[in-house]
């Protein structure tokens, strides 16, 4: 590692964002380079200075009464009787919806295969919540190229599909992140998109153990899962699921826009 590399990585080093190996290389270089140590010290001092100046700026102080007013308003909203009533009603509606959903599933689903598909759908929603929204997976996500080496070429395809910007009839979807991750034992290729003002996940899983659905390419919309919209389709031995806190119709539009290029990309794998 040379001085130019150190200058390029200095900010990430100070933010503790470097991988362990790179960190060690930085430290080895800094041991022997006075100029880089001085540069790093200046940058550290600048960061601390910005933090201190921001914390101390009187012009950014809230009015003394603002905190109390805010707290009172929030407390009223939290303990408001109509809100409590709606929580109770929401509970009953949720229970009724769950019973109706369970009854519908019991009538329509073929036992084992469809149960597996529902399990996958719940895993997709859980992964979206815990990975895309909350960053709290037990196992750290890995880059797609690394996943491709370990688990198969499908992950390589998803490095470029869908493209970073997807035009749909409902507006533009923009890819924020791509990686491979695991939720409750289910491995997904995970593409996180910004779409219709919300964060949406596209998750791809191997379909060999997740039962039949409406058929190759047909988009299923089994209904909300744990409060989130979900649509899915199958292609070339994989299940592709889309989930997020947006209208089901908008999610279908996104799935429609992605389905054809994805089917082409995954065919032959």
């Amino acid at each position: 590692m040379d001085c130019r590399d150190v200058r390029d990585l200095a900010d990430s080093f100070l933010a503790e964002e470097l991988m362990t190996e790179t960190n060690h290389e930085m430290l080895r270089h800094l041991e022997g380079c006075h100029a880089c140590r001085r540069e790093l010290a200046e940058r550290r001092s600048l960061r601390e200075g910005v933090r201190r100046a921001f914390a101390g700026a009187a012009s950014l102080d809230a009015r003394p009464e603002f905190a109390a007013v805010l707290k009172a308003r929030l407390r009223r909203a939290a303990l408001d009787v109509p809100a409590r009533r709606s929580i109770r009603h929401r509970g009953w509606w949720a229970l009724a919806a769950a019973l109706l959903l369970a009854a519908t599933i019991g009538l329509v689903l073929r036992a084992r295969d469809w149960t597996a598909m529902v399990t996958l759908a719940h895993a997709a929603v859980g992964d979206h919540r815990n990975c895309a929204l909350q960053f709290r997976l037990t196992e750290k996500p890995i880059p797609l190229d690394e996943a491709a080496k370990r688990y198969g070429v499908v992950y390589r395809v998803l490095e470029r599909l869908p493209p970073d910007d997807v035009r749909t009839a409902a507006g533009l979807a923009h890819v924020l992140e791509r990686h491979a991750c695991v939720y409750k034992g289910q491995r997904f290729a995970h593409v996180v998109l910004e779409y219709r003002g919300a964060r949406v996940s596209m998750l791809v899983a191997d379909s060999s153990s997740h039962g039949p659905s409406a058929g190759e390419g047909t988009i299923d919309a089994p209904g909300p899962i744990d409060g989130l919209s979900l649509v899915s389709f199958r292609t070339s031995g994989h299940v592709v699921l889309f989930t997020g806190e947006i209208a089901m119709g908008d999610l279908r539009v996104l799935a429609d826009a992605v389905a054809l290029p994805l089917r082409r990309g995954l065919s032959g794998i």
């Binding site: 390029d8 900010d11 990430s12 933010a15 964002e17 200046e42 940058r43 600048l46 960061r47 200075g49 910005v50 933090r51 201190r52 100046a53 921001f54 914390a55 101390g56 700026a57 012009s59 950014l60 102080d61 809230a62 009015r63 603002f66 905190a67 805010l70 707290k71 308003r73 929030l74 407390r75 909203a77 939290a78 303990l79 809100a83 409590r84 009533r85 929580i87 109770r88 509970g91 919540r129 929204l133 909350q134 960053f135 709290r136 890819v175 924020l176 992140e177 910004e194 003002g197 964060r199």
Partner: protein, 184 residues
Amino acid sequence: MVGKPAPEAADDAWAAFEAEALPHADRLFRLAMWLERDRAEAEDLVQETMMQALRSFHRFQPGTNCRAWLNAILQHVRSNRRRARNRAPLADEPFEHVGRTLAFVPPVPQVLTDEDLLGALARLPIVYQDVILLCDVEELTYREIAAALSIPLGTVMSRLHRGRALLRSELGAVSLPGRCRTHS
């Protein structure tokens, strides 16, 4: 939760929110005040952020970074408010060329006042101010910043790199009398 009398459940939920999220309101206000430059707007922004946080609090996982979570909500609310006011979305990479073509960056003076620092920060394009504040002041990780601003991780890193180079350039100009400072 099922079977518990509603008033107790609501009290418990409020107590948890009050303990976990409310203490961050002051820091949120400081950030909102910087971004909005108007006290009434900043108070509105924080109030709307905290209301949204209260409604979504059942989704917050205790033990995770509440400040990062609140910052993400604040940025989301801010973005929606800008759209509602028909304001142009924040440009992706304004002055993108500046970070690469800074001809001469004078050394940062050893003695800098808080005014110098904040003045220089304020002169940066807002997209660079955003990432620098979230990283250096709010101490969010790169991933948390990416989530808060709904931008790719790579964009966070490149904006931080360029933003800090511009900041050093602005501060270097502090020590040079008669020199023109870059404008945001």
